[in-house]
Amino acid sequence: MSVKVFGDGVSRVGVREITSGIFWITHCLGDHAKDHYSDYFGLLSNAEDYVSNRIVDYPFSAFLILDEKSLLIDTGAPAQRANTLAALDTLLGSHALDYLWISHIELPHAGNAVAIQRKYPGAELITVGGGDDSYYALHGLEDAMLVSVGDIIKLGKHSIEMVDPLFLDHGNSQWLYERTTGFLFTADWGHNLHEPSRNQCFQFVDEMENSGYTDELFVDDVAVNAWYQFPWLAWTDPDEIAAGVDRLFKQYDVRIFAPSHGNLIRKDVGRYAALLKEGTRKAVEMPHRFAV
């Protein structure tokens, strides 16, 4: 595993090539995870069913596609700004950054947009259409190129297609599919967790299997994360949610599954698609108690 790591602790950023021309730029806490996430499962009423005595960690990721044109998917959070810029500098070298694509406007996804545009003033900002000028001004995304589901941007050998975000929090969100590699970016959906003590930081999920990560843990992780991330699942029909996952993987030939906050899946995606469905369905069926 070849990973270049910039910084440590809350500012740490790692860079790893996923496939030719696509890079994972990600923050996770590593040895510091226990200081921040030791009570990660604290809100669950049946935490013992999921914790398995694990001290887990949680990635916050951006991705860079390098081709005739380069495109950065999300920006990482302000706490990792300096190291994210350093990572970009290393990857881009003398190349320009042509596009900065934003999935949605939360800080872990868009919080460095201004700093990146300042460093790469030629980078064109791209985000999801549907708002009006005031919406983009409020969220600091003025003058962005607005795109819709199905729109395609050619980068050279790679081309990206905008994808309807099935499971979302913020109203204006989008997912992305890269057609040549089958890379599907799903922002906040489909996360697993990893254990720094087992050296699972920056690993792909198939590599984590060598240190004891199992299908059962993956399903639990997807479920717990969806339960936290999308509490509205409490008010949905599990069969409809499961059918939505099926349609997604039927519509797109996914060969690399890349969520913002999980390890990447690059092998056996079909098997993991079934586990993602099971985990998301499980999130619907988990007890939801709203503190009102």
């Binding site: 923050h27 939360e106 005031s134 919406y135 969220h139 008010w235 009102v292």
Partner: protein, 256 residues
């Protein structure tokens, strides 16, 4: 714009103009006997005006806490200015929010305090209830109930687009109150997950909340305070949610 809502509660903020009409971007101040608490801190778009208005409301007192309903820019856009003016201030967020990632690093992490949904805390000498936000566009969203004024701070929930002529008016000053259609257009934009939702299940939890709490004022960020006729406005929101969910069903929830 500064307006006193009730007792020691003030509303600050401006509006932006969009295709559905005006959208308010507010924040609130509880002056709290000289120990002020802010609920959200406004948009960076109106930083200069908002900070001046905040100074006016504070009358020289030092705010002790900012409660963030969530951390998007329209809600936390002036946090850096507030941290600069009052460096000892504490920020209170939902325990679901990941503090070192989801808050701009403008204060030491020790000053970012987490409240778990369902807890009641004494903050700056005032009892406050921290609740789950029922309409969330960010997982770490919280609603806050202030028993003293009977105010429920609802973040993005109960937001509405409005015509320019009612920008400065509370619900009881608008003839007919806040219209169901105003809630509908706003919530359709803000909460696109409603495509999946069975509205009855969501509305039942809203009912539970309003049965449990004696709410006299609803304080949304993207609307003016709703004073009076609370249950009628809750019913309007419930009808709006139902209409949005039904429209999604009609259009189909398949991949688009």
């Amino acid at each position: 714009m500064i307006r006193m809502v009730a007792d020691d509660l003030y509303q600050i903020g401006e509006c932006v103009d969009g295709r559905h009409g005006h959208e308010a971007v507010r924040f609130y101040v509880l002056t709290n006997d000289g120990r002020p608490i802010l609920i959200d801190c406004g948009s960076q778009l109106f930083r200069s005006e908002s900070m001046k208005q905040l100074d006016q409301v504070l009358e020289g007192s030092t705010p002790e806490f900012v409660f963030l309903t969530h951390s998007e820019l329209p809600h936390s856009g002036n946090l850096e200015s507030i941290a600069r003016n009052w460096p000892h201030i504490h920020v209170m967020v939902s325990s679901i929010l990941i503090r070192h990632i989801e808050i701009a690093p403008v204060l030491p992490l020790e000053q970012i305090v987490a409240a778990s949904p369902g807890t009641t805390l004494q903050i700056a000498g005032r009892e406050l209830n921290f609740l789950d936000a029922l309409l969330k566009d960010q997982p770490g969203s919280q609603w806050i109930y202030d028993p003293k004024t009977g105010t429920l701070f609802t973040g993005d929930g109960f937001g509405y687009y409005h015509p320019a002529e009612v920008c400065e008016q509370f619900s009881d000053e608008v003839e007919g109150g806040i219209l169901e259609q105003w809630f509908t257009t706003y919530h359709r934009d803000a909460f696109r997950f409603l495509r999946w939702v069975n509205p009855k299940k969501l509305n039942d939890v809203l009912d539970e909340l309003y049965q449990r709490r004696d709410v006299k004022t609803i304080a949304p960020i993207h609307g003016n305070a709703i004073r009076g006729d609370i249950l009628e406005h809750v019913d309007r929101l419930k009808r709006a949610i139902t209409a949005i969910c039904m429209q999604h069903r009609k259009e189909g929830i398949n991949l688009r």
